[in-house]
């Protein structure tokens, strides 16, 4: 009921998550990795998620997109444009995954299939969702490579993941998420594994996607500096719970929670301001 009201009030709403809990069955019994998380994302907005390692950032978004490991399960709701992703059947969810929602993973080194050519890993998603022919899909792949600042070359299309650098692999991951013109991209620490220059180039791409193409972005990071640069709003997580949320400016200038203050105190002074 509450969510419907919000939907009417705010036509810009893209994703709304209510009372999300994630559990895992482990050898030591059941553990709860995400505890009663509520969040929303508007169209064209960038939401930053910060928190220490193990605070549940990744699992929150895995549960929304149905990517939890086989020992995990969740409850709550995740309404994406009037459609509840969590209670949906696998088949129904597949129509949204890759098509309206793109996911970029934490570890670009192992996230591409080692025995498939880059071109096929890009094009298969468009042949599947948009019924393109192979050559049409490859043409689109070349255009998308341009967006992520990679050479539009047949050479790249015909190479295998092990022939690319970490930064190139991450750009390919972004390109994959862009193939079907998504409305939401979830980027899980997209720059953690990369050096500082590559990191800022990748962040620039996200900025272009958000400002230029109006794509909503969830940016997960432990680096509060990265969040400060890119996000409109932030959410701070600790131990599976949301401890603070608000506009980036408010949270960073006048943090209310002890943990957020601690996070901010860890930024070297020359990055402040």
């Amino acid at each position: 009921m509450q969510s419907i009201q919000k939907n009417i009030k705010n036509s810009d709403l893209l994703l709304e998550v209510n009372n999300l809990n994630v559990f895992f069955d482990t050898a030591d019994g059941k553990i709860q990795a995400v505890k009663d998380v509520n969040l929303f994302i508007n169209k064209g907005e960038c939401l930053g998620i910060v928190g220490e390692s193990g605070s549940g950032k990744t699992q929150t978004f895995f549960s929304i997109t149905g990517l939890l490991s086989s020992n995990g399960y969740c409850n709550g709701s995740a309404i994406f444009k009037d459609f509840d992703l969590i209670s949906a059947s696998e088949d129904k969810k597949r129509e949204y995954l890759g098509k309206s929602i793109g996911f970029i993973f934490q570890d670009p080194m192992t996230s591409l299939t080692p025995h498939m050519k880059i071109g096929e890993q890009l094009s298969e998603i468009a042949t599947f969702h948009d019924n393109l022919s192979k050559s049409e899909a490859l043409k689109r792949a070349l255009n998308v490579l341009d967006i992520v600042k990679l050479p539009k070359s047949r050479n790249l299309i015909n190479s295998y993941p092990h022939e690319l650098s970490g930064g190139m692999k991450q750009r390919i991951m972004i390109a994959i998420s862009l193939m079907c013109s998504p409305e939401l991209i979830i980027a899980d620490e997209p720059t953690t594994a990369l050096d500082v220059t590559t990191q800022s180039e990748i962040l620039n791409i996200f900025n272009d996607l958000q400002k230029g193409m109006g794509i909503s972005i969830v940016l997960i990071s432990h680096n509060i500096g990265v969040i400060a640069e890119t996000s409109d709003r932030v959410m701070v997580m600790k131990g599976g719970k949301v401890v603070e949320k608000g506009s980036t400016f408010d949270v960073l200038t006048s943090p209310k929670d002890e943990y957020t203050k601690h996070l901010l105190s860890c930024i070297p002074p020359w990055l402040e301001g």
Binding site: G98, F105, L112, H115, F128, H162
Partner: protein, 306 residues
């Protein structure tokens, strides 16, 4: 590619020489000889025979004579099957053994991989448990126990299938020996395939494939199998070695005129040339299989360069 194959074949020559030398020595060290009988031969006849087969010469000289003959493709006469050369015996048995071996390897690979994949996809269901349970039996019961059981049950008790003989390669004569040979391999391969498929299914790149919203059947076909079949390809050569040793016994039990029979008879009767000849054949086959394994691996995994 051609360079790689040539190089490997050249390296194979010293390997083969070492195997031949080892077999040669082992056979001579074993007590008795091809012409030792319960009733001693008159000394002069024995001396004549020994001379005719060069057995009176020192071992190293015998070895060099043997190698010299081999280099021109002469495997020598059989000591026991008096009217045949070793080459003739091998050629006569090869079609039987090759039919048996090749069918078994194909059936094991295809059935084993298939069952393993299904068990992995249906992990922790009754299908998975029954496949894994049955395969455990398959691993524990060797061919030489399986063969008589099959023969007894399907041949004698149910009377469905012939229990012995080649019968010109009749399919019904082949079913029982091929089953006896394949079952242990199917068991091993399905277990390997199950665990490697489970590992691949949990890998990051499969999560990427799922995040693309692709159908699971497509993901299995395009993203999973080529990665999860790699350990099975590695197992190809050991599996073939297992089939070769298995076939020696299975041919014996089902009365098939293959090469395995000559190996057993040759070893028991100290037919030096016959045993060496069969050993060279088996060793060469294995060397070729290992080569094929490497080529296949490079084809399946683009990170491997040959």
């Amino acid at each position: 590619m051609i360079k790689f194959i040539t190089k490997r074949l050249i390296i194979a020559i010293p390997t083969l020489l070492i195997i031949i030398a080892f077999g040669f020595i082992m056979m001579r060290v074993a007590p008795g000889g091809p012409f030792t009988n319960e009733r001693a031969l008159p000394p002069e006849i024995e001396r004549n025979i020994q001379e005719a087969y060069n057995l009176n010469k020192p071992i190293y000289e015998q070895f060099f004579i043997y190698i010299k003959n081999l280099s021109v493709g002469d495997f020598g006469p059989s000591f026991k099957y008096k009217d045949f050369t070793v080459k003739e015996l091998i050629i006569s048995g090869l079609p039987v053994s090759a039919t048996l071996g090749l069918s078994s390897i194909f059936i094991s690979l295809i059935l084993g991989s298939f069952l393993g994949i299904i068990a992995a996809i249906r992990k922790n269901t009754y299908f998975d448990y029954s496949i894994m349970g049955i395969s455990l039996i398959g691993i524990c019961v060797p061919s030489f126990v399986m063969a008589p059981i099959l023969s007894l049950f399907f041949g004698l008790y149910l009377g469905l299938l012939p229990t012995s003989g080649w019968n010109g390669g009749n399919i019904f004569n082949l079913i029982l020996p091929i089953t006896a040979l394949s079952l242990p391999q199917i068991a091993v391969i399905s277990r390997m395939m199950r665990s490697s498929t489970i590992e691949v299914l949990n890998s990051n790149f499969i999560r990427t494939a799922k995040s693309k919203g692709l159908k699971s059947s497509y993901i299995i076909r395009k993203h999973v199998i080529r990665a999860s079949i790699l350990p099975i390809i590695e197992y190809l050569a050991p599996a073939s070695a297992g089939l070769m040793t298995g076939s020696i016994i299975v041919e014996q039990i089902f009365g098939l005129p293959g090469i395995g029979r000559y190996f057993v008879v040759g070893a028991l009767q100290r037919d030096y040339t016959l045993v060496s000849g069969v050993m060279i054949l088996y060793a060469s086959l294995l060397i070729i299989l290992i080569l094929i394994t490497d080529i296949l691996r490079a084809y399946l995994d683009p990170r491997v360069k040959i």
